[in-house]
């Protein structure tokens, strides 16, 4: 039980020499990476660079084969209880929203707090409504996910993750599946969250978002962290050719 909360001053996420393979394919190579509490990090890179996989390692949606990953003082291994303990503290937002279609918006938010945190139903519902207000979608509480637009669904998904009161939020390309006119409403919610001090790891190509909130930008290519820097440095003066090429490609059009 002492493992439940780690050293409050140390990094919340620490990866040391992490390697991962999908069969023969070496997705992540020697990743050394740590995140301080309260830090906001944007991870970018070409597709297939391993950025999503790296984020998914943190809550064990993927498992690594070499190296160590410590999240909030708990080392990730095959121990199911430790994995569930970490998942309680780490919220995740997916590209495809992944709301539960058979439950209403409100039920999507109250499910995990009641079943995992054993929160009384009333309290969970109050918390859910509070969060839905925060993502400006409270009036849709009794609808089903399929009745909402993509942007609304993604805001519900963010609120669902927040309902567990996580210490870290992971965003895996949260706006990539959205129509352009809906991207802003989701980014606004994320910016607000960042201002409130949430620790965030965001895989995204939204460079405006990165400039606004990121403390650090991590650039990945072919399974490696190629470059890390403050957003203004990274965007104006990338140090590596690979980063220059990538930036010219995404900013070029």
């Amino acid at each position: 039980m002492a493992k439940e909360s780690g050293d409050a001053s140390g990094p919340i996420i620490e990866m040391r020499g992490v390697d991962k393979w999908f069969g023969e394919f070496h997705v992540l190579r020697g990743i050394d990476f740590s995140v301080a509490r309260g830090e906001k990090i944007v991870i970018c890179g070409p597709s297939g660079s391993g950025k999503s996989t790296m984020v998914r390692l943190i809550n064990r949606l993927e498992s690594h084969q070499r190296g160590t990953i410590v999240v909030d003082g708990i080392e990730l291994a095959d121990d199911v209880k430790a994995i569930e303990a970490i998942r309680r503290e780490v919220g995740m937002v997916f590209q495809q929203f992944n709301l539960f279609p058979h439950l209403t918006v409100l039920q999507n938010l109250t499910l995990a707090p009641t079943w995992v945190r054993h929160m009384p139903k009333r309290e969970a519902e109050e918390l859910a409504m509070q969060l839905l207000n925060r993502v400006r979608i409270a009036e849709q509480a009794d609808k089903y996910p399929a009745q909402l637009s993509g942007g609304q669904q993604q805001r519900v998904a963010i609120a669902r993750a927040l309902a567990m009161r996580p210490k870290v939020m992971l965003f895996d390309e949260p706006t990539s599946a959205l129509d352009p006119e809906m991207i802003k409403e989701v980014l606004d919610v994320m910016i607000e969250l960042a201002r409130e001090g949430m620790t965030m790891l965001v895989v995204t190509h939204e460079m405006g978002f990165a400039r606004t909130v990121a403390d650090r930008v991590v650039f990945m290519d072919r399974g490696e962290i190629v470059e890390t820097g403050k957003p203004e440095e990274f965007f104006s003066a990338p140090k590596t050719d690979r980063a220059k090429l990538f930036l010219s490609q995404i900013l070029g059009h």
């Binding site: 809550n59 949606l61 199911v80 569930e84 303990a85 998942r87 309680r88 780490v90 919220g91 995740m92 997916f94 495809q96 992944n98 709301l99 539960f100 279609p101 058979h102 499910l111 995990a112 079943w115 995992v116 089903y144 399929a146 009745q147 909402l148 637009s149 669902r160 993750a161 567990m164």
Partner: protein, 356 residues
């Protein structure tokens, strides 16, 4: 105007080519030769009540009086005559359970308790052995009631077990997975009759001396084992249709395996499996008639046995038509219900899409 439309319709649908015209004519001829005589036999000249069997002997039509005379035996088999209100009440409880389960508003966790209570009540009624209800050995159960017992208890036991089996087949644990695959493939590879034979002939040989399981229970176990394997494959199909993202979202929230399955995956997977599940239920309902080979008195056997009385022999047509009608009533209701359910669920989805 309407006349020419009718002719055009006939042309387009019944006489659009030489083979189609020939087929139409042949079918019309057959209908003309078969339907009116059947109608005459079944209704016009039929005998509905006959205090003496001889009245039927002299009639030109069907002897439905035979069914009227034998209905208690067909419904309840050799259950003690004076106690037959008990299986009668049992049939009503079964029907009530079916109706309640058919209403979607009742698809709540308490429905499982209602089922447990209903089935326990039926067991108590049928066996008795409590004050006011004399004990009746299950060797004397029979007729429609036995068919309903085998089918309903069978499905009620096989369905939850099949869900476990389906989950086991998709488990990450190799031993569990292999065991489930072996079980499913083994059972699906043999006919139900051979399982029933094994249950009635071979199983007692393997049991320690002194321990006996009665015949009805052995047959029921064999049928549950059989239905489980088929239902498990249907459930597995539903599980496979659920996107990976649903599993990941549940896991990312910290839900344990069983909570993830019970709260997120199964509610969705079972919903889409309803039509094939009902299909398997229908097949299973009819398969209960195979218990005749190990000497149980189900509906079909009861009908056959009632023909053995010399005074009433020779009415096989009426007897089997009636049995067919009873099976049909149950199976057709299941089929109709599953179609309605399918339509309701897909209408719900379309409705949602329109609002989007």
């Amino acid at each position: 105007m309407t006349g020419s439309r009718a002719i055009r319709w006939l042309r387009a649908n019944l006489f659009y080519s030489v083979p189609s015209s020939l087929t139409t004519l042949v079918l019309l001829y057959l209908a003309w030769r078969l339907v009116p005589p059947f109608f005459d036999w079944a209704f016009v000249h039929a005998v509905w009540t006959a205090p003496q069997p001889s009245i039927c002997r002299n009639a030109a039509g069907a002897c439905w009086a035979f069914i009227v005379e034998k209905h208690r035996f067909i419904l309840f088999g050799t259950y003690p005559y004076a106690q037959q209100w008990r299986p009668g009440l049992g049939i009503l409880i079964f029907l009530a359970l079916y109706v309640v389960s058919a209403m979607r508003a009742c698809w709540r966790p308490w429905l499982a308790l209602v089922w447990l209570g209903g089935l326990a009540l039926i067991g108590a009624l049928m066996w008795g052995g409590v004050p006011g209800l004399p004990y009746v050995d299950d060797g004397r159960w029979g007729g429609l009631m036995l068919t309903l017992i085998l089918a309903t208890f069978g499905i009620a036991a096989a369905f939850p077990l099949s869900v476990l089996l389906a989950l086991g087949r998709r488990s990450n644990m190799p031993a569990v997975r292999t065991a489930c695959v072996l079980y499913i493939e083994l059972i699906r590879g043999v006919p139900l009759i051979s399982l029933l034979f094994m249950a009635s002939v071979m199983l007692p040989l393997f049991l320690p001396e002194g321990l006996t399981i009665d015949k009805l229970l052995r047959a029921q176990i064999a049928m549950v084992m059989f239905a489980m394997a088929y239902l498990a494959e249907v459930v597995r199909g539903g599980l496979q249709a659920i996107p990976q993202g649903q599993y990941e979202a549940a896991e990312a929230l910290g839900l344990s395996y069983w909570r993830k399955m019970l709260l997120i995956i199964l509610p969705q997977a079972l919903r889409i499996s309803i039509p094939p599940l009902v299909n398997t239920f229908i097949a299973f309902f009819k398969d209960t008639s195979l218990v005749v080979i190990i000497g149980l008195f189900d509906l079909l056997t009861a009908v056959k046995v009632s023909l053995n009385e010399p005074a009433w022999s020779g009415y096989g047509m009426e007897a089997y038509l009636f049995a067919a009608l009873v099976y049909f009533a149950f199976c057709f209701s299941m089929s109709k219900y599953s179609q309605r359910l399918e339509r309701d669920l897909s209408r719900g989805r379309k409705h949602i899409l329109r609002e989007d």
